[in-house]
Symmetry: C2
Subunit: 227 residues, 2 copies
C-alpha cells in the first residue's frame, strides 16, 4: 500500500480492533468513490484458504437502478426482525429499549444506507460448510475495520436470508454463489468505542475445553454483555 493509505488514519491497529462496534444508524452522506475503493481494497487483503480468494463483493449504492434491490432487502430485513420487534414505552431509556429502537430503525431504513455490500462466496472455488467461511468472513471483518479506520461504520448481518433467492436473481448471482453477509456502510450516528462481551475466562481456555487460562483476564474498565 502506498504511503497515502494512512493519511486519514490516526487510529492504531490494536486500538481499532478493540473499539470497532456494529454501526446501525448512518448519516445521510454518500461514501466517496475513493473511500469505497480503499474500503474494498482492505477487505480483499484478508486471507482465504490457499489464497484462492473465493470472496466477491457486490456493492450497491443509492441509485435509481438499485431501487428494487433495496426494496427487496428492506422487506427481508423487516420480516426477519418481526419475531423480535417490540415497541418500548416512551421514556424507557434502558439498554434493551434503546437496542430495540435501534434495531427497528435499522431494518426499516436498511434500504437507505449509503452503501450496501453483499459479501459473496463462490462455492466452486471456496467449498462449502463452516470451513468455507474462513475464506469470506475475514474479508468481511477487514471491511468493517477499514470502515472504522476511514471514519465509517457498518454491521455484519445475515438478515437477507428470507429474500436470498430474490436478491440472487436481482444481483445476477450464479447458482453456486451464496451471499455470506450483507454489510451496510455509512458515516455513523454515534460512534465506535469499547464493545461488550462475555468475561474473557468464559471465552479463552488453556489446554482443554472449559479450563480458563490464568492469564486471560479482562483489562480494567471492560464492559460485559448484558451488563
Amino acid at each position: 500500500m502506498t504511503a497515502d493509505a494512512t493519511d486519514t488514519d490516526d487510529l492504531g491497529l490494536y486500538e481499532g480492533l478493540v473499539t470497532t462496534r456494529a454501526i446501525r444508524r448512518y448519516r445521510p452522506e454518500d461514501i466517496p468513490e475513493d473511500d469505497l475503493n480503499r474500503l474494498l481494497f482492505a477487505a480483499t487483503r484478508a486471507p482465504s484458504g490457499h489464497n484462492r480468494q473465493p470472496f466477491r463483493f457486490v456493492v450497491v449504492r443509492r441509485t435509481p437502478e438499485t431501487a428494487e434491490i433495496r426494496a427487496v432487502l428492506t422487506r427481508g430485513f423487516q420480516e426477519a426482525w418481526v419475531p423480535n420487534r417490540t415497541e418500548p414505552a416512551d421514556g424507557d431509556t434502558s439498554r434493551p429499549a434503546r437496542m430495540a429502537r435501534t434495531m427497528s430503525h435499522f431494518v426499516d431504513h436498511i434500504g437507505e444506507a449509503p452503501v450496501l455490500v453483499f459479501a459473496c462466496l463462490d462455492h466452486r472455488v471456496g467449498g462449502t460448510g463452516l470451513a468455507a467461511g474462513a475464506s469470506v468472513f475475514p474479508a468481511c471483518q477487514n471491511l468493517l475495520l477499514a470502515a472504522h479506520a476511514l471514519g465509517y461504520g457498518g454491521a455484519m448481518t445475515n438478515w437477507h436470508r428470507l429474500v436470498t433467492d430474490e436478491l440472487g436473481a436481482l444481483l445476477g448471482l450464479p447458482d453456486e454463489v451464496s451471499i455470506a453477509a450483507t454489510i451496510p456502510l455509512g458515516r455513523p450516528v454515534g460512534g465506535h468505542g469499547p464493545v461488550r462481551r462475555l468475561p474473557l475466562p468464559q471465552l479463552v481456555y488453556e489446554n482443554r475445553w472449559d479450563e480458563p487460562a490464568p492469564w486471560a483476564v479482562d483489562p480494567p474498565g471492560t464492559r460485559y454483555t448484558g451488563g
Copy 2:
C-alpha cells in the same frame, strides 16, 4: 480498552489491514502471558451473530503436558500436506520453490510453534453451515491482526482436519463443538508486508455479479497473486 493498549502500537489500523501476511516461520521465543492476554482479548472483541459469542479459544503452549496434542497436530498437518509436497531443486529461488519450502517447514514444525490457538465454534449457540462462520472467523481475523499489532504473526489453517477426532478428544471438546481453525502464533522470521491478491476488478462488482465497479482500482505498486 485502557490507554496502555496502544503502547506498542505504532501501526495504523488501515495500514495494518493491508499489510498483515500469513506468517509460517517463527522465532523460538515464547509469547509472554501479558501479550497472550491482549491477543485473545482483541480476538474476542469481534462481532458474532446476535452477539452470542459462540467462539471459544483453546490455547496450547509448549509445555510437557501438551506434547501429545502437538504430536497429533503435526501428524495431521503433514498428512494434509502430502498431496502437495514437493522438493524444489537446490538453488531454485523461484516463488513456487520458496513457497514449497516454507510450507514443508511449516507442517513439519507446527508442533514447535510458540503458541497454538484452536478457534472453536459451539454449534449449540452459533448454529451450523456457512453462516455460522460469521460468528468465529471475524474473531480469528482479529487475532491475526492483533498479532501483527504486537509484533507477532500467525496463519489461519484448516489443516487439523485429518486429526479432528483425536484433537477433539485430547482437548476435551464437547460433541457439538468444532475446531473452526488452527492458528499458530509466534515472532515472525521475516515479516509482514503487502499481500498478493487478484486484481481488484475481479473481486469487486457494482450492482450485479461480474460487473466491475469503475472506482475499484488497485493502488500503484499492488502485487498480484501468481505474479
